[in-house]
């Protein structure tokens, strides 16, 4: 194991002149970044917890302390079922959708045919594009009168549904677009997993007469389980943070009020309810904390940091 430092540590005497000089060098190099992270990433977590105890209109000077009032309101009004329900459906559908489709695309990409490198790039491309731009393009495609989808549906004699006005369809619409944008990520990660697969096992199974489907289901898929777990955690985390597509496609959150979007709408939408928004952020953060715990354990096992 290569140690982090190229030279042996000064074992016992910590604050030798040399150690002291090193400490100053360390601080000079790392402190700006560490302070920025502490101030703009960690501090807000605690500030949010404070804000969440206030009844406070954004922009106003006075706020009243309401303790857990915002949380009580969230969980006893109709908001919690609606918001948590939308979050659960959006997260489950996008994680499941992009992983299953990503795996299928990865299998398709994992063949010796010319052009697969280009196909791989094309499939990955939407992942790096602006969610706002992508959302706008799909909004046009979903347009019930002039959209390409309505045109295709007319071709087979169907009328286009009102994607934006119906809350359920609006949620389905943002799920479809989110999966479209993110499945390339899953595909490329799965492809890397498939390509590091022990070929001798697969060949042995083929010699024993196992067909392609059986080889995939009984050998490849189980061997991919570390990749599957990695993707499950990373796509869960990013789905819970999805904002751009939801905001541009359904600006007022009709049926698409996930935790992150509802928190935005409460503070910066029509209501200016900063305290209530902060409470929703804290709920989201607690949810993320649980998953971060899982992720950390995984990273620890996976990347062997010193």
């Amino acid at each position: 194991m290569v140690k982090g430092s190229p030279r042996p540590k000064a074992a016992n005497k910590r604050w030798t002149p040399r150690a002291r000089r090193d400490a100053w060098v360390f601080l000079a190099l790392a402190l700006p970044n560490l302070l920025l992270i502490a101030f703009f990433t960690y501090r807000p977590l605690f500030v949010n917890m404070y804000y969440s105890t206030l009844d406070w209109t954004l922009g106003s000077m006075d706020a009243t302390v309401v303790g857990l009032g915002n949380y009580i309101e969230f969980f006893t009004s109709g908001d919690a079922p609606a918001v948590l329900g939308a979050t659960a459906i959006f997260t489950a559908a996008t994680v499941g959708g992009s992983m299953v489709l990503g795996l299928l695309v990865a299998v398709a990409l994992n063949q010796k045919v010319p052009g697969r490198t280009i196909a791989r790039s094309a499939v990955f491309a939407p992942y790096v594009l602006s969610g706002v731009g992508v959302g706008m393009v799909w909004l046009f495609i979903f347009d019930p009168v002039y959209g390409a989808l309505a045109w295709m549906l007319r071709g087979v004699g169907l009328a286009s549904p009102q994607w934006i006005n119906d809350p359920n369809l609006a949620l389905a619409m943002v799920i479809i677009v989110y999966v479209w944008k993110n499945l390339g990520y899953c595909a490329v990660v799965y492809l890397a997993g498939l390509q590091s697969m022990p070929q001798d096992v697969l060949e042995a199974a083929a010699l024993d007469g196992a067909g392609a489907l059986r080889r995939f289901w009984f050998i490849s898929f189980p061997l991919l389980s570390p990749t599957t777990f990695f993707l499950l955690i990373t796509t869960l985390l990013s789905s819970l943070q999805a904002f751009d597509i939801i905001k541009i496609m359904t600006p007022t959150g009709n049926g698409t009020g996930t935790l992150i979007f509802e928190s935005y709408l409460q503070a910066f939408g029509a209501y200016n309810r900063a305290g209530y928004s902060a409470a929703i952020s804290v709920v989201l953060f607690v949810l993320l904390l649980v998953m971060t715990g899982l992720q950390l354990r995984f990273v620890e096992r996976k990347v062997h940091y010193a």
């Binding site: 790392a30 045919v113 491309a125 602006s130 731009g133 002039y146």
Partner: protein
């Protein structure tokens, strides 16, 4: 996932290579004797090309539709008898987008924010990663853990407190207000640290024996041999800054300070373009195409960077 497979596919396991040999496909075993028979060609087309073509089409079609629609006259879009290609391609939609909202200014703002933000972030990432790997300090493990955790805290959760802070300093509608809160970089630090750990210690020892201090070792030894990793961090950072939405959306409300994604929202909300899809597609093209070009040219670094963590180890 590479540990148990290291012997059978050593290079591919450690570094993902798109051009590396693919494992034999399912049909090869029984078709080795007559590879060019019609049956085999048909099977290759059906199982090999068709899924690939389909996947590529599903991704490319909406983007192609965006570009084609942006070149169409309004009459070709507000119609129920669609044609795929524009009859007489026109840039009118772009002109109208630019007169409805200050698109040139959005573009400039996006460039300024992306260039300044990414440059500072990359420098900070290099410095912090070097310190974490090569400089002795008592609490390095705890610090690295804090960075790892920060990697998983979504910026969206910190939006409200940061907004209050920046607003309190009169930072709304300023470049520094847009850039500052996002400058701390956990991702770049993490990625470069993982790379620096793989550098051969002997090179740095030699430099140290030659009397090179930390700053010379950093700039003359570590940085020059870490080009690809730094490029990866730079490109992923550039993509992230360019596409960043929620923070610029909240911190700007004057059009002359908006970035492209925020400006596209403004365009969508303005009355004269509410259903003018051609104009909106022109706006989407301006937001999307620059990153698409960067991605097409340098995709190896970007894909590597964004899928990092899945293939390390």
């Amino acid at each position: 996932m590479s540990t148990q497979t290291a012997e059978s596919s050593d290079e591919r396991a450690t570094r993902f290579d798109p051009d590396g040999g693919a494992p034999p496909s399912g049909s090869q075993g029984d078709s080795r004797d007559r590879p060019l028979s019609w049956r085999n060609l048909a099977r290759t087309a059906a199982t090999g090309y068709l899924p690939l073509l389909l996947a590529t089409l599903v991704v490319v079609a909406p983007l192609g539709w965006m570009v084609l629609s942006s070149l169409k006259a309004p009459g070709e879009i507000i119609t129920t008898s669609l044609s795929v290609l524009p009859h007489s391609p026109t840039l009118d939609n772009y002109a109208q987008a630019a007169t409805t909202v200050p698109f040139a200014r959005f573009f400039l703002n996006s460039v300024v924010v992306t260039v300044i933000g990414s440059t500072i972030k990359c420098v900070l990432a290099v410095l912090t990663a070097y310190a974490l790997v090569f400089v002795n300090f008592p609490f390095k493990k705890a610090i690295f853990l804090a960075i790892l955790v920060a990697l998983m805290v979504p910026p969206q959760v910190s939006v409200l407190p940061n907004y209050i802070f920046i607003a309190g300093l009169d930072g709304l509608n300023t470049y520094w207000g847009i850039i500052l809160p996002g400058l701390g970089t956990a991702f770049g630090t993490f990625l470069l640290r993982q790379h620096f750990l793989t550098l051969p210690a002997s090179i740095l020892e030699a430099a140290e024996i030659d009397g090179a201090g930390h700053f010379r070792r950093l700039w003359q030894v570590v940085v020059p041999i870490s080009g690809p990793s730094i490029a990866t961090v730079a490109l992923v950072t550039i993509v992230g800054e360019w596409n960043d939405y929620i923070w610029p959306l909240i911190v700007t409300d004057r059009p002359e300070m908006m970035t492209l994604p925020v400006g596209l929202t403004l365009l969508a909300n303005s009355d004269s373009t509410s259903q003018a899809w051609g104009v909106l597609m022109a706006g989407a093209v301006i937001v999307i195409i620059p990153i698409l070009v960067v991605f097409a040219a340098l995709q190896r670094f970007i894909v590597d960077g964004l899928t990092q963590g899945s293939v390390t180890g």
